[in-house]
């Protein structure tokens, strides 16, 4: 069995806002093993970014409250860790690539210096040695003339190059866990694929575990080993890539998969969408959060369904829905042609 890098159990994140308490992350549990890519998917506001940022202690503030645990390497709890402990872990053991590379790099420092700064925050080496390592890293992620380009400022880089620099920075200390928070959302479609490949390949080379946050199911299909589907702060379903794409259990997942427009099919007259709006996290509906939008909801859905395995012979395929497996398989066609697709899903 692969080495367990991260074990998140019953993670809760609550923010005090002027409108009331916002439960941004509600009872999220998952694991990450070495060499594995776990994708967290969900629409904006589903809590996926908050989940991963909380792992790095980036959501800490006087207005936030946390529950649950997130154990790194089996012992250290990231939720309870002191700020000093986290400083040693951030960048070194867990590194993060952010969504928008233009705003995520300091505008007034040279790209190379920003990477050097991270290396020297964790290792006692000379500036020159750190710069040599930085130039190597930049070459590895495909930045040409890296020695010169290290002296450039972020505004002198294109979007794709900036994101490559962010990746070089994230990989600079060979972290065991790499978190990528929608790293391709702000980029051109043509660059997206390249960046995805870089992330997947480089993390494979360094044998780290990757948590990939995205709302793009195409991206998920490309690189994920396992998938977590989040809705309104909760994980509604998780399983392997094949389980989620070919045997989705939760009606929200059906809707999500049904919303994917596919090149290999007749284009639909209207783009399919899930009717309704995600709930406000201040006044979340009682019971299942998806209930108000779910055409299959019944009385029992006012109770919170636990996240548990319901499919036989698939102990890691968990979901939060009261429908029986047979009912689901009978009904999910209603939401579209998902799950029983004839064309192959790229995986």
């Amino acid at each position: 069995m692969a080495e367990r890098l991260l074990d998140v159990e019953h993670l809760q994140v609550t923010f005090a806002t002027e409108d009331g308490m916002v439960r941004a992350v509600d009872d999220v549990s998952f694991t990450l093993d070495r060499g594995e890519v776990v994708a967290i998917v969900g629409e904006s506001g589903s809590g996926k970014s908050v989940t991963v940022m909380t792992l790095m202690g980036l959501t800490r503030s006087p207005n936030s409250r946390f529950g649950g645990t997130a154990r790194l390497g089996g012992d250290r709890d990231l939720i309870a860790a002191s700020e000093e402990q986290l400083e040693g872990i951030r960048g070194q053991e867990i590194a993060m690539i952010f969504q928008d590379p233009i705003s995520s790099l300091s505008p007034v420092h040279r790209i190379g210096d920003q990477i050097v700064e991270q290396i020297r925050a964790h290792e006692k080496i000379s500036k020159a040695a750190a710069l040599d390592r930085t130039v190597d890293l930049m070459e590895r992620v495909g930045i040409p003339r890296a020695r010169d380009r290290a002296r450039a400022y972020p505004h002198e880089f294109s979007g794709g190059m900036r994101q490559r620099a962010m990746i070089a920075m994230a990989l600079s200390l060979s972290p065991s866990v790499l978190i990528a928070d929608e790293p391709t959302t702000a980029l051109d479609v043509t660059i997206q694929a390249q960046i995805l490949q870089e992330v997947a390949q480089l993390s494979k080379e360094s044998n780290s575990g990757v948590i990939f946050v995205t709302h793009d199911l195409g991206v998920v299909a490309d690189i994920a080993d396992r998938v977590l589907v989040m809705y309104a702060g909760r994980v509604v379903e998780q399983g392997t890539l094949d389980e989620i794409f070919y045997d989705p259990q939760h009606p929200y997942t059906w809707g999500l998969l049904g919303s994917v427009t596919r090149m290999d099919r007749e284009p639909p007259r209207r783009l399919p969408a899930i009717p309704g709006q995600p709930p406000s996290l201040v006044n979340t509906p009682q019971g299942c959060h998806f209930r108000p939008r779910c055409p299959h909801a019944f009385d029992r859905c006012t109770e919170v369904p636990p996240l548990e395995a319901r499919v036989q012979d698939a102990p890691d395929h968990l979901d939060r829905c009261w429908l029986s497996v047979e009912e689901k398989r009978a009904r999910r066609l209603v939401d579209g042609r998902i799950g029983l697709a004839t064309g192959s899903v790229t995986a």
């Binding site: 940022m53 980036l58 872990i89 960048g91 993060m96 952010f98 300091s106 505008p107 007034v108 925050a121």
Partner: protein, 316 residues
């Protein structure tokens, strides 16, 4: 860079010309303004006044008067009307006093504002923040003449810790120089400390939520380093522009209230008495003096800006 210097040079000439024309013309608009009468003295008769008027050229058309005055200023021969003193010499003599007052005060208010603004932003919403912000409002609101008088009353008269006005040159005794200037420095700095620390606090609080600050934290940098290298570094730009202009006007004589209350023989004190006597030459030279510094320090602030922020290029 050469282009930048040339363009700033041109704007300097334009500004000096505009300032001098406006100030000169302004006095022509004052109905009771008659410099000849002032020069001739209280008991002069009409013949004497006419005599003075002809001698000083006040009977010539205004553009001729302007041209003559400018010629006198730039050849260093212009005389004030109240005391028959050479105005340029007066500025030369008095400028070191103003420098002694303004430079240390400027350093003091900049350092104090950065420290207090940072403290306030780091402790945002807590007692230290509230205390600093209330003090800052007080500092901004209290008029300089009142503050200066209060300081003198409290710390020179009631508690004789500091000398009651006066000036000692740095060459005579550096300690006495500083001792005599502590209250004036403080009185000039208070307003700017209040204003700058509030501006800096709000810049810092905006900056804290920037994505690159989150990146800096995610790199595992210490909180201190995140703050100084990333948050503070990116928040200083507006402060620099403000400082350049405020400092320039103070050098040009805007410290006139402080200089008058503490009886410091600087350019501001000279300008204050000139204004009271409608004595045009010192006022005119003072205005041009200020305009000169505004252009110089505006350019310096821009250069510093470009050094601090690589996205900014120097253009005229």
């Amino acid at each position: 860079m050469a282009r930048f210097v040339v363009r700033r040079g041109i704007s300097m000439i334009a500004l000096l010309f505009a300032t001098s024309v406006v100030v000169f013309a302004f006095f022509e608009l004052i109905p009771s303004y008659n410099p000849a009468r002032a020069i001739a003295g209280r008991n002069a008769n009409a013949t004497t006044v006419a005599e003075v008027s002809r001698k000083f050229g006040f009977d010539k058309p205004i553009y001729t008067q302007y041209a003559n005055t400018m010629k006198l200023i730039f050849t260093g021969q212009v005389i004030d009307y109240q005391d028959d003193l050479n105005v340029v010499d007066q500025f030369k003599q008095r400028f070191p006093v103003t420098l002694s007052l303004v430079i240390p005060a400027g350093i003091f208010w900049l350092v104090a504002a950065i420290l207090l603004g940072s403290l306030s932003a780091i402790r945002a919403g807590r007692i230290a923040d509230r205390a600093v912000m209330v003090a800052a409002i007080l500092g901004v609101s209290i008029p300089v003449f009142l503050l200066a008088a209060l300081l003198l009353y409290l710390f020179a008269y009631k508690l004789p810790w500091f000398p009651n006005t006066g000036y000692v040159t740095f060459a005579q005794s550096p300690t006495q120089w500083a001792y005599h200037l502590i209250l004036p420095w403080f009185s000039i700095a208070v307003l700017s400390i209040g204003f700058y620390s509030r501006v800096l606090r709000s810049n810092l609080l905006d900056m804290v939520n920037q994505d690159f600050v989150r990146t800096a934290k995610a790199k595992g940098l210490s909180q201190r380093r995140v703050f100084t290298r990333h948050v503070l570094r990116n928040s200083l730009m507006p402060i620099i522009t403000m400082f350049g202009l405020d400092f320039a006007t103070l050098l040009g004589g805007a410290a006139l209230v402080t200089e008058t209350v503490f009886n410091l023989p600087g350019v501001g004190q000279y300008e204050a008495s000139a204004i009271g006597n409608l004595d045009v030459p010192p006022i005119l030279v003072g205005a041009m003096f200020t305009a000169f510094f505004v252009v110089i320090f505006g350019a310096l602030a821009d250069v510093l800006y470009a050094l601090l922020d690589p996205r900014i290029r120097l253009t005229g």
